[in-house]
């Protein structure tokens, strides 16, 4: 009994920091609609800066002043980031900010190791709160009790800030309707910056307050960001009180889960999250998301199948790729095979995101399940490689059928979060079910058959499967099913009104994407000869997202280009520099700013502009042709002012 009470108090103390960080993420998302992936990085920075400050300035004021100062320093860095980077990309397609903040996260990870070194750092104990209090005969650290009190205090402070100050009222108004707030004379630019700074301050404070409890490590950003996502989703995006309740819930689940269900302790939290999302898709205290306002003219260039010439060019590219074994060595071929595998993985995610409008944050689940499927088939049942390649992906398909059924009931950010939760469940199972999966040690000895064992043969195999998969996905885009899927993406209501079964179509798309991801995963298992839980972990899912966004989310097949560029860059950087994450992060950030439509989107814009210039011949007198590439001729407009007045359609694909 006593032990349970103490365990409960420990859980509450952990909830405090989690709540601080999660409320910051929630507030930022509410106003700016940015899912700030870098939030964990700021939490980590808060801990490191607090460590340095409290080491230098000792004593009572040194410690507490250092904690607050650390949070302020981190908030200033956050504000700077918002001003320099995020302001440029608020108008970019949804999720692009996620990519940018992911780039920042990568950079911070390397910077932190550069500045503070790779070792764990142990900070000082809190002056005045060093001892322990005797509760029911067991010692509870005084600092934990302080944190337990602090959480509700911060909650109350935030409530006052949001309900009793004009700034807070403006923030709440902007959470609902940003444009209307601007139309009432409020300068959104600074409102956004201040909100971002507040959110980052909370993250930094959460990190700084951890130093008397836990060691400061350069891995703490990723571990907290996942928990924070879970908290924010359970509590409801944008709800501070919801974040508090969910933080307590998650912390207590962690505290007791390890005692009661040690076998499934990691998966427990995600199971609860999945249950909450299924019952209340917008979280405990969140509000249903309104229909997303699509920026006008998002996809002004309609998708078109490739022309005969374009097909010939693609064929030539593939044939040229087939000649690679004659000009490069074995190492390069292994790298190229990996790129081919990831091109298929990215294409499958791209199909779901672009054609289906369903941004999955957990697509690696189906990739990893496919890999595990192939490994089981090989090592447990002794299947030959071809059999494993055919059967292995079925595990991914099964996962997609099961998880997809739940996921397609949601949309937008909540869909993304539920996919993340399911991917984490899959990961936890792979990690904890040691008897079957080998846990962290993975499954080894998944080697290809002798005919495909040479790097050249396996490369050809990977290339062939990948190309076939990508072509199949492209054919699907322009099939009746693809049109129905795009209809559900563009307007869920209208598509249902014309008889399309939205959830069934989206479920099918989910399964299709999962299938091709599973195929890629099975190939990957044979490429590496082994399977690990990492194959379905969050970084893998994020890699997929980065490839899709980098290639261009509004394009038909941008992900393939994104995968090639990203994977090649990542592999090359690791071989060239110790600071590969810093460089890769910086490149991602630069690409986001320079090409907000992705690489392929940028190229298409360039082509379209050139074509429009050729069409206009620079004749338009009133308007600059570059600004108005597709103006409707005046003659067509007499019949009515329907907003879509037959623009000239460029065939860019």
């Amino acid at each position: 009994m006593e032990f349970i009470v103490v365990q409960f108090l420990t859980g509450l103390a952990s909830a405090a920091s989690l709540f601080l960080v999660a409320s910051g993420l929630s507030i930022i998302f509410g106003v700016t609609r940015i899912v700030n992936f870098a939030h964990g990085a700021f939490y980590m920075l808060g801990a490191y800066v607090a460590y340095t400050l409290t080491e230098r300035f000792e004593g009572f004021f040194g410690f507490w002043g250092g904690i607050v100062a650390a949070a302020l320093v981190v908030a200033a860095v956050g504000a700077l980031l918002e001003i320099v980077l995020l302001r440029r990309i608020y108008r970019a397609p949804e999720l692009f900010q996620l990519l940018a903040t992911f780039g920042v996260t990568l950079m911070v990870q390397d910077l932190v190791v550069m500045i503070w070194g790779p070792e764990d750092l142990v900070g000082p104990r809190a002056p005045g709160l060093r001892g322990a209090v005797d509760i029911l005969g067991l010692a509870v650290p005084t600092y934990d009790l302080f944190l337990i009190v602090l959480g509700p205090l911060v909650l109350g402070g935030l409530w006052i800030l949001f309900h009793r100050t004009r700034w807070g009222v403006l923030v709440r108004a902007a959470t609902q309707d940003r444009d209307m707030v601007a139309a009432l004379g409020v300068n959104q630019t600074w409102l956004f910056t201040s909100v971002f700074a507040l959110g980052i301050f909370l993250a930094g404070l959460g990190g700084a307050l951890q130093i008397p409890r836990n060691a400061v490590t350069h891995l703490m950003d990723l571990s907290i960001i996942v928990e924070v996502f879970v908290v924010v989703v359970i509590g409801g995006l944008g709800s501070v009180l919801g974040a508090f309740i969910a933080a307590v819930l998650v912390s207590e689940l962690n505290a007791f889960g390890i005692l009661i269900f040690p076998k499934i302790s990691i998966v427990l939290v995600f199971l609860v999250m999945a249950c909450v999302l299924i019952v209340r898709p917008w979280g405990l205290l969140g509000r249903p998301e309104g229909p997303a306002r699509q920026p006008a003219g998002l996809s002004i260039r309609p998708w078109q199948p490739m022309s005969q010439n374009q097909r010939l060019v693609m064929l030539a590219v593939v044939v040229a790729a087939g000649f690679a074994p004659f000009v490069t060595g074995d190492y390069a071929l292994t790298v190229l095979a990996e790129i081919a595998v990831f091109a298929l993985f990215a294409a499958s995610l791209h199909f779901l995101m672009t054609v289906g409008g369903l941004a999955s944050f957990g697509h690696a689940a189906y990739f990893g399940l496919g890999a595990y499927g192939a490994a089981f088939a090989t090592t447990m049942f002794g299947m030959p490689m071809i059999g494993s390649l055919l059967l292995g992906p079925l595990l991914g398909v099964a996962g997609a059928i099961l998880f997809g059924w739940f996921c397609v009931r949601l949309s937008g950010v909540y869909f993304a979060m539920l996919t993340l939760a399911f991917a984490q469940i899959a990961w936890s199972v792979a990690f904890q079910w040691v008897e079957v999966t080998g846990g962290d040690n993975g499954i080894l000895g998944v080697w290809p058959a002798s005919w495909a064992a040479s790097p050249a043969a396996f490369y050809w195999l990977a290339l062939a499967v990948s190309v076939a998969g990508i072509v199949a996905l492209r054919v699907l885009v322009f099939s009746p099913f693809g049109y129905a899927l795009r209809a559900t993406r563009d307007s869920a209501l209208r598509s249902e009104a014309i008889g399309i079964d939205r959830s069934r179509v989206q479920w099918a798309a989910f399964v299709i994407a999962g299938t091709f991801a599973g195929i890629a995963g099975a190939l990957f298992a044979f490429l590496k000869g082994s399977v690990f839980p990492d194959n379905l972990a969050i970084p893998m899912s994020v890699d997929g997202l980065v490839m899709v966004l980098l290639g261009g989310i509004e394009t038909v097949s941008g992900a393939v280009v994104g995968a090639i560029v990203y994977k090649a860059l990542a592999i090359w950087l690791v071989s060239q520099t110790d600071l590969s994450k810093l460089v890769l992060g910086a490149i991602i950030v630069l690409l986001v700013v320079a090409f907000p439509k992705g690489i392929v989107g940028f190229a298409e814009d360039l082509l379209a502009r050139r074509r429009a210039k050729a069409d206009d011949g620079g004749a338009a007198a009133r308007t600059t042709p570059a600004k108005a590439p597709a103006k409707a001729p005046a003659a067509t407009s007499g019949s009515g002012a329907a907003p879509i007045a037959a623009p000239k359609m460029e065939a860019a694909r």
Partner: protein
């Protein structure tokens, strides 16, 4: 001139919506912008306050060019905007909604306080603590207007203030707009309903398919039934 719109062209993506729109509003005038659904009334207003991304032409407010200014700056100069779909902050109380609209006092423009607005719209005064989402359509319409007036504008763009309101509320609305005019406010209101516009306007423009088809006094409009029938009658 309070507001001068010269040769305004607006676009949504590749679609060209407004064609060479010209509108002038004198100080203290009430001007109606009439037209059917989809004629371009709301786009005209949205273009004036900078909510349409691509627009060409020149917009002068009190003699100064505001064409390239961001929305919040335009509004801060005293050009208030009341959107068509109300866009009340449903999670905020009446008082908090008014607080969002608050801007400093301005010379040459009537000054509004919550108390003065509660007098103008007595319904609002009785529900200061109510959430915006729990109000009727008419009450929300009054709240949007009151919210914009909290910015102490010298000119207001009212987008279809009578849309979807019960006849009795329409009458109250007309009286409120006349009271605003008596305070010295310049007003541009868009309407499909000639009846309502006639009660309160000095002059009118008719817009159809993104082009201005008529501009003149209300009397001139009434004396030309052919124009009325061509562009307004159902």
């Amino acid at each position: 001139m309070k507001l001068e719109v010269h040769q305004l062209n607006s676009f949504y993506g590749p679609a060209h919506i407004l064609f060479d729109v010209d509108i002038n509003v004198g100080a203290g005038e009430v001007v109606a912008l009439l037209g059917r659904n989809g004629a371009g009334k709301s786009t005209t207003f949205r273009s004036i306050v900078g909510l349409v991304a691509r627009r060409e032409g020149r917009i002068l407010f009190e003699g100064e060019d505001i064409t390239a200014r961001p929305t919040h700056e335009i509004v801060r100069r005293g050009l208030g905007y009341v959107p068509e779909d109300r866009r009340i902050f449903t999670e905020l109380t009446v008082e908090e909604n008014l607080m969002v609209g608050e801007q400093p006092e301005r010379t040459g423009a009537p000054r509004w306080t919550p108390e003065k607005l509660y007098a103008l719209f007595p319904n609002l005064g009785e529900m200061r603590g109510r959430l915006g989402g729990r109000m009727s359509g008419g009450e929300q319409q009054m709240l949007t207007i009151a919210r914009t007036l909290m910015g102490n504008p010298s000119l207001v763009l009212l987008d279809e203030p009578s849309e979807g309101l019960a006849p009795k509320i329409v009458e109250e609305m007309a009286n409120a707009i006349l009271a605003m005019k008596n305070e010295g406010l310049s007003i541009v209101l868009s309407e499909q309903n000639l009846h309502f516009a006639r009660l309160i306007s000095d002059r009118a423009y008719i817009i159809e398919s993104g082009r201005i088809r008529f501009g003149g006094t209300i009397r001139e409009l009434e004396e030309s039934p052919d124009i009325r029938d061509a562009y307004l009658a159902v």
